[in-house]
């Protein structure tokens, strides 16, 4: 705890970023519960109301409280991003391990497939998959995992090639240790620092991707609150209520910024502990 405080004093910006990332993760869980009003039920008598005590950020075109919608949206915008990252990381790690430790043929084949998936621009491919499947939570996760697993596969493969050729693995194989135990005890531990950094930075990209899909109409479907979807809806009345086209973007940028900076901080931290060996 004291060490954390000391680190925070030395680099307040990064401490704020890490705190911000944690805050957004917490909001992803409790956001919908602390929303003062229903983010979904329309209230036709209060359409496009200006900010007031009852509605600090005003109401949208269906009379719903914008603050409540922004809070509730955290679950999809941030929470779903975390799910996307976990699914991508697990799939990519398994594939990368197979390539790195499965022999030269498996490696060549898998890396060709990985290159092929890399050939598609992330957003274009995600849009096509999500658009064709329709925009539910599972479909969004699927679409973004399809375009998100390759970085993990490449990273894991690169690190695993070296580990798998090392003496500890040769000795373990000689002792009759099975492939799963070798993966768990020998191949995975050296990956964890780099995976953590990649995952943290990926959360930022996944947040932007989810709201990007939402903005283009292929992510979360109305009335589900999601920052990108809200920004898209707000375009229709941008002249009468410009603030609605601005407000949902603020938590969106802050969340992406927090996870980006937190990823940088983790990377430097790991480089510092790993460096002098």
């Amino acid at each position: 705890m004291r060490a954390a405080l000391l680190a925070a004093r030395r680099d307040p910006m990064r401490a704020a970023a890490i705190a911000g990332a944690v805050l957004f993760l917490v909001l992803a869980v409790i956001g919908p519960w602390i929303a003062p009003q229903s983010p979904i039920v329309p209230n036709p008598s209060e359409r496009l109301a200006a900010p007031s005590l009852a509605h600090p950020m005003g109401t949208d075109h269906l009379g719903r409280d914008v603050l409540s919608r922004i809070l509730a949206a955290t679950r999809l915008s941030v929470g779903l991003a975390v799910v996307v990252v976990i699914v991508s990381a697990v799939v990519g790690t398994v594939i990368g391990l197979l390539a790195g430790a499965g022999g030269r043929f498996a490696d060549a084949l898998i890396m060709r497939v990985t290159d092929t998936f890399f050939a598609f621009p992330e957003m274009v491919a995600a849009l096509a998959v999500a658009g064709i499947l329709g925009g539910g939570g599972i479909e969004i996760v699927f679409a973004l995992a399809v375009v998100g697993w390759m970085r993990y596969a490449r990273l894991v493969r690169g690190l695993t090639l070296a580990t798998a050729a090392g003496e500890p693995v040769a000795l373990a194989k000689l002792s009759g240790v099975g492939p799963l135990a070798i993966a768990r005890h020998h191949l995975l531990p050296p990956l964890l620092p780099a995976l953590t950094v990649l995952m943290t930075a990926h959360v930022a990209r996944a947040i932007l991707a989810i709201s990007g899909l939402g903005f283009l109409g292929f992510g979360a479907q109305p009335p589900t609150p999601e920052w990108g979807t809200m920004l898209n809806e707000a375009r229709a009345y941008i002249l009468s209520m410009p603030s609605h086209a601005v407000l949902p973007g603020i938590p969106l940028v802050l969340a992406a910024l927090s996870f980006n900076l937190a990823g940088d901080a983790l990377r430097d931290r790991i480089a510092a502990t790993d460096g002098p060996r």
């Binding site: 849009l127 096509a128 064709i132 903005f215 990108g228 941008i238 910024l257």
Partner: protein, 314 residues
Amino acid sequence: MTRFGLNRLFGAVLVMLGASLLTFLLMDLAPGDALLAIAKARFGDTVSLDQSALDAIRAEAGLDRPFLTRYAAWLINLVQLDLGNSLIDGRPVLDIIAERFQRTAELALGAIAVAALLSVPLGLMAGLFHGTWFDSLCVSLATLGSAMPNYWLGILFILFFSVWLGVLPAFGRGDLDHLVLPALTLGTGVAVTTARLLRSATIEAMAASHIDAARGRGLSEARIVGRHAVRNALVPVVTVFALEIAFLLEGAVAVEYVFGWHGLGLLFVEAVDARDYPVIQAVVLVFAMLFVAINLWVDLLTFWLDPRTRAGAA
């Protein structure tokens, strides 16, 4: 060089083949949908379809043939540049793409101009004045920029320039001034990455030993910066700029949507929305081919520019 080049070319061709297979597979994810989409495009939404009508369409569209046969047929058509017809208006997909691609190219050129104008001076200056307040400001802006979705930036620009100042048009096409906001939005995103890279490359180049040597030979500071630092810093920037073109094409999807710019990106959004499968397939494929081609070009360029690999190959 030739051996490396051929190797890369072969790899790129393989990846393109794989990409075409994946694209075809994507449409196969929802074959029932493809069928219905054709039927709807032909008979309209309201007509209820019986099974025999659906079967007739299935046979006519060749959807009852085995997967690989259909893929081979599609691939053969593809090589002959026959991408099929749009399900919406029946026009050849190739014509639509050509028309829309031109609009996207205009936007991309504008964005590249913006990106170059922003990133080259800012990145170089930040690198040369490394550690000063100016440098920190640039780094902070770049950090913020990389967390900024371009469509939101577009909305902010619209609010500021069109709604508040009223100086530039927000939507549609026409004079050059319609290009300003979309190009600014798209170009800013590209500028962020490029400036960042240019900055670190400048810092590295300034620290390199031959600069010290040049200083030792008594060359003036200005000439050192001009002759050595800038040129060395540009080598990675040139390659990254090429990669940025790829990201730019991707970013065009959201930006064209925000500004109602009728390019490839907006076409794609419309096609996905309408489930116009031939168009979706074609656009995804065009994007993928451009990506692969750009990557190939960058690989070859880096190889050719890098004195170490050149010496190794000679």
